[in-house]
């Protein structure tokens, strides 16, 4: 049901009509039926205008800020922002702490994405094999954790992992030979971040499972059977039939997960009571910290910009995928 076929077939005048500028005011009534080039732009105008204002301007400002010296005096308007050239960038790029943060962020995001995708795929496959009532139960639980506000989820995990009264330490201490009572999970960065990663994964898995489940229903049974007849084991069927069919969905999910997991903020921020220790800083909190705690908005913006650039690489993959779909259309 390719939309484009019908669209282009039905709207031949589009090609000949003058470019949007003059058409925008022009077509009015007659344009309604034939769909002059002006109509779609007219429909898009409010949206594009709003996005330009709320997103375009701040984005430009972000870039500008990252090349400026902008601190408290500039914020209060006592002083004009002055150009700093590449100072902000040289400052962060030569700073060992920044690179440590970058590395930590990449490891954190990669870990969260991999665990999310693997768990998501396993649960999606499991859903195909369980009885109806178990499936319903799993779905309810997944949707509940999906819909849970991040901030509430963070509060709950904080409570679960509380050093003195957390139920997790108690549970672990039931294992013979393990005494975890009073264990502070947030005393060390890696352990604390692992807990935060678990929190992120817990919130992210449901979307992956539900999307993959929808995708799994599209896998033709005949193909699986054919593969089985040809001697493929369960693994072979998965690897050579299921996986290739699901690939577009997996690419989409992975890209979205990377973007979301690189942007993790409230989880760390709230978990550390608004003051993440140095070994908990990720790029997002680090940028926030530079800007709003140290009051160096220029450097903060430079860090944010680097984060966006890092993500661009990932997004490029996703865009290619989406454009391919656009071609089909």
């Amino acid at each position: 049901m390719s939309a484009a076929d019908t669209t282009t077939a039905k709207l031949p005048p589009v090609r000949q009509s003058p470019p949007s500028g003059s058409a925008a005011g022009g077509p009015g009534k007659p344009g309604k039926k034939n769909g002059g080039a002006g109509v779609p732009w007219l429909l898009l105008a409010p949206c594009l205008l709003v996005l330009l204002l709320v997103l375009g301007y701040p984005l430009v400002r972000l870039v500008a800020l990252s090349f400026q010296k902008f601190g408290q005096p500039q914020l209060w308007g006592f002083q004009e922002a002055e150009s700093a050239g590449f100072d902000n960038f040289t400052k962060i790029l030569t700073d060992g702490e920044f690179w440590a943060v970058v590395l930590r962020t990449v490891i954190f995001a990669a870990g969260a994405v991999i665990v999310t995708m693997v768990l998501g795929m396993m649960i999606a496959l499991l859903l195909q094999r369980v009885s109806g009532w178990v499936k319903a139960l799993i779905n309810i639980v997944l949707v509940a954790s999906w819909g849970m506000p991040i901030i509430v989820a963070t509060a709950i995990f904080k409570w679960l992992f509380d050093a003195d009264y957390g139920v997790l330490n108690w549970l672990l201490s039931r294992i013979p030979g393990v005494d975890m009572i009073g264990h502070n999970w947030f005393a060390s960065g890696p352990q604390g971040l692992a807990v935060i990663m678990l929190l992120v994964v817990w919130g992210a898995v449901p979307f992956v499972v539900i999307t993959l489940s929808a995708g799994l229903t599209q896998v033709p049974k005949e193909l699986e059977e054919a593969a089985r007849l040809d001697g493929a084991g369960a693994w072979g069927v998965f690897r050579f039939v299921t996986l290739p069919i699901l690939k577009p969905i997996i690419v989409m999910l992975t890209t979205l997960s990377v973007i979301w997991d690189m942007g993790v903020f409230p989880q760390v921020y709230v978990m550390r009571n608004g003051h993440p220790e140095p070994e908990f800083q990720l790029l997002t909190t680090y940028s926030f910290d530079r800007a709003f705690v140290v009051n160096d908005y220029g450097t903060g913006s430079a860090i944010a910009l680097v984060t966006v650039l890092l993500l661009l690489g990932v997004v490029a993959v996703y865009m290619r995928q989406m454009l391919k779909i656009g071609d089909v259309e």
Partner: protein, 292 residues
């Protein structure tokens, strides 16, 4: 790098599938129940803690099934700081954002799904790309912008800001729903003498309504759950619901039992809303992403 992960990551998953034939359905069901227990435990523990006396919550031997049932924690949660003020503010912000988002987004979604025009692809890619910009990265310029405009600590400022993520999302999802409505229906109406607008209002709109409701509810939830902007752009007196929750964290420690009660109050309505629209939403999201 991510692409490599994508293909490598799920590769481990079918390990349980290997044993498929040896185990009966019972094995899979047990595994499924394990998933339910693990994934559901945090939510269960929230509700469990919320309804038991604060003293029991810090009992060294936790009670997995509450022996005494109390609403004390809820009372305390309502006392600790104004609750209804933040809720009202969150409601206003989320509703206004959704109404603007749907109104503006619907027009745009129509344009990119029902019209062929030069630059259409660029617009589609642009709207997709905009969704990729991490919100956190924008907080500094947005904060400065609202500061300059005198919109700091104003609900309008927050509303404008929330449009950055609600609007692209709305356009994209509505597009997914519209694309799924056969074009032929509209054409038939137009052949029968409807104008294009008429065909839309009489034919497409009724079919789109459920999708619009789902999109609105989902957008509402997203706006309601937002934390960072709400924290940075509003002062303590004007905090919204998500920020309100941090009132339980004090210098002297965290009051967990009332905090879980507060969490329950905040989460339960949202989760129920979410349960209602989730099926429709998942369909729309995947339709928009997978189908043209």
């Amino acid at each position: 790098m991510s692409a490599a992960n994508a293909t490598a990551a799920p590769a481990k998953s079918p390990a349980p599938a290997v044993t498929h034939r040896r185990k009966s359905k019972l094995g899979w069901n047990l595994l499924g129940l394990l998933v339910v227990l693990t994934a559901g435990f945090p939510v269960y523990w929230m509700i469990n803690t919320a309804f038991k006396p604060a003293k029991d919550a810090i009992d060294p031997d936790p009670h997995f099934f509450p022996s005494t049932f109390t609403l004390e924690n809820f009372k305390r949660a309502l006392e600790i700081a104004d609750f209804w003020g933040p809720v009202l503010r969150s409601l206003v912000v989320s509703l206004v954002v959704v109404v603007i988002g749907i109104a503006v987004g619907l027009l745009a979604a129509l344009a990119i799904s029902r019209f062929a025009f030069r630059g259409r692809k660029i617009v589609i890619v642009g709207i997709l790309a905009v969704q990729m910009v991490p919100l956190v990265a924008m907080i500094i310029p947005v904060f400065l912008l609202l500061n300059d405009l005198g919109q700091y600590d104003r609900l309008t400022g927050l509303i404008i800001t929330y449009l950055t993520f609600i609007l692209p999302f709305t356009v994209w999802t509505l597009r997914g729903f519209i694309v799924n409505i056969p074009k032929e229906l509209e054409e038939a109406a137009m052949v029968d003498g409807c104008t294009r607008t008429g065909a839309f209002v009489r034919v497409v709109f009724p079919l789109l309504a459920p999708g619009m409701v789902a999109t609105s509810v989902y957008g509402f939830i997203q706006a309601w759950n937002e934390y960072l902007y709400a924290l940075m752009l509003m002062s303590q007196q004007n905090q919204t619901a998500t920020v309100w929750l941090s009132n339980f964290i004090t210098k002297n420690g965290t009051e967990y039992a009332p905090m879980m009660a507060g969490s329950t109050m905040m989460a339960v309505p949202i989760v129920i809303l979410f349960l209602l629209v989730q099926r429709k939403m998942a369909a729309g999201l995947t339709a928009g992403a997978v189908k043209g």
